[in-house]
């Protein structure tokens, strides 16, 4: 059985200089001598338990003896599990932030879905998937830049500037008010819940009543993620996630789809949602734009609905 050459050069726990010796196979993607910690990905899977260092000097012909034989061309990865206490706690915080049980009032907003149903743009569950994708795309193009900028620069001055800019960009009054309602609620909750980041509370206290800040949702979400220590990719993905979560939840309450159908739909959209993230992430707010103006217009009609369940 032929195994793709795998070159491992792991740092030793001992203070022996030079690290472990590289496997003598010099294939095109070989590791140069002296390059430690480089673990090219090839046909080997090694899981190293935490707090263990492993020095491997493995002559090629002995590979089969120590590890189970691998299929030709099999992909592999090397996991070094070294969870630190802060990383695990961060996961809990992350999940709590995107859990619908967090009392931010997201359930009161349908993101224009209710208006779209009454405007006959959506007649059945098939239209719902299209609608959710359009909402996600518009969220990506318009709001992700604000989440991104706030996450990478979670300070008072940046946040206030982003808030002012978004206030000028949310020209749809219904959407604007919804953003303010959700943002205010999120900031209040996050300041109380994540007490290990006192700057959230102090920023909130400084800005409340000053009239300078409207408390829009996207910048505050990004700010919270940034202060918690989440990376910008995660925070942008999380923002798309909670948008999708809220629209689909609204759809079940509007009887457009049942709870099971909603769950199935949510999973079906993941591939497109990730594509939307990849397309719109990591942009500056100067690039923020609307890509579904029709939806924006329809959401603006929400205020004229004679009978309505949702705020927006």
């Amino acid at each position: 059985m032929k195994i793709e050459p795998a070159l491992l050069s792991l740092k030793r726990k001992s203070d022996e200089p030079g690290g472990s010796s590289p496997v003598p196979n010099k294939k095109p993607n070989s590791v140069e001598d002296g390059e430690e910690d480089l673990i090219p990905l090839h046909s080997l899977q090694i899981t190293i338990p935490s707090s263990t260092a492993l020095a491997l000097t493995q002559p090629h012909h002995l590979m089969n003896t120590f590890f189970p034989p691998m299929e030709d061309g099999m992909e592999a990865h090397i996991e070094v599990e070294k969870p630190t206490p802060t990383d695990s706690h961060l996961q809990w915080s992350q999940w709590q932030l995107i859990d619908s049980i967090l009392p931010t009032g997201g359930f009161a907003h349908s993101f224009g879905l209710e208006a779209a149903i009454q405007a006959r743009i959506i007649s059945g569950p098939e239209d719902l998937q299209t609608f959710v994708i359009h909402v996600l795309e518009n969220t990506g193009s318009l709001l992700l830049p604000f989440v991104f900028s706030a996450t990478i620069s979670p300070d008072l001055e940046t946040w206030q500037k982003l808030d002012r800019t978004l206030d000028a960009m949310l020209t749809n009054e219904v959407g604007r008010k919804a953003s303010i309602a959700q943002g205010s609620a999120l900031m209040r909750v996050a300041a109380a819940v994540f007490s290990e980041t006192p700057s959230l509370k102090s920023m909130r206290d400084t800005s409340v009543g000053s009239g300078v800040v409207s408390f829009h949702h996207a910048p505050i979400f990004g700010l919270t993620c940034g202060l918690l220590g989440l990376d910008s990719r995660t925070s942008q993905r999380a923002y798309l996630f909670i948008t999708m979560r809220d629209v689909i939840s609204a759809a079940t309450r509007l009887n457009l789809v049942g709870p099971m159908g909603a769950a199935v739909l949510q999973h079906q959209i993941v591939v497109l949602a990730e594509a939307i993230l990849t397309k719109w992430m990591d942009r500056t707010v100067e690039e923020a734009c609307q890509t579904t103006p029709l939806l924006d217009t329809v959401q603006g009609c929400h205020a004229y609905l004679f009978s309505r369940l949702f705020c927006s």
């Binding site: 994708i133 795309e137 800019t165 000028a168 020209t171 734009c289 609307q290 890509t291 579904t292 103006p293």
Partner: protein, 203 residues
């Protein structure tokens, strides 16, 4: 700023008057005297492009200055047609307008019509003071829909900015309709053939 056109309107003898008007190919301004009722004090400016449309790669920019207390209307002779893009070039239009105190500027053009595969971007920046007045109409049709071209262009981007006393953003809006997005433009526009935005600012 390098401009292909510049118009300045000021009060002369108590009436809004064009005191400066300059335009360079392919832009042209026509300022007829007898558009509105004679009792109304307003200057009407028609902007045209030679050839009746915007050709791939054209870049047209103009500046307007509306003096205190003046009234001006900027409009077009016909819809702004954007021809197909050659070699992925994008055509652009830019407008920068300054509106004075107690003045009004109304931008009421015909809609933009992008032909199949056209690429077009426009940017309009309005610098106002607290008692300026603005009427902005910005609209686009789906294309030559009688010929079957419905939302068949490659790129349409329209940016409108209203800035108060220099830099304070009052209104920022950018619409981007681009082929190759997750959902096609036609799908995002459903059965609608035209979309318009109207902004009213002031008293």
């Amino acid at each position: 700023m390098k401009s292909d056109g510049k118009v300045v309107v000021e009060k002369v003898g108590g009436r809004s008057t064009v005191t400066r008007c300059f335009s360079k190919y392919p832009l042209k301004f026509i300022i007829p005297n007898k558009v509105g009722p004679s009792k109304t004090d307003a200057v009407w400016i028609y902007s045209l492009t030679y050839g009746g449309g915007i050709v791939s790669g054209d870049s047209i920019s103009c500046e307007l200055t509306i003096g205190d207390g003046c009234a001006t209307v900027l409009t077009t002779q016909a819809s702004t047609k954007v021809y197909k893009s050659m070699g992925s070039k994008c055509s652009e239009q830019a407008l920068e307008a300054r509106i004075g105190s107690d003045a009004i500027l109304a931008i009421v053009p015909d809609p933009v019509t992008c032909f199949s595969t056209a690429r077009y971007s426009q940017k309009q920046v309005f610098r106002v003071v607290s008692d300026s007045n603005l009427v902005i109409v910005d609209w686009i049709t789906s294309g030559r829909h009688e010929s079957g071209e419905r939302w068949d262009f490659d790129l349409y981007k329209s940016t409108n900015r209203i800035l108060l006393e220099g830099d304070l953003p009052l209104f920022l809006d950018t619409v981007l309709l681009e082929r190759g997005s997750i959902a096609s433009i036609a799908e995002r526009m459903q059965d609608y053939q035209v979309i318009a935005m109207v902004v009213l600012f002031g008293e």
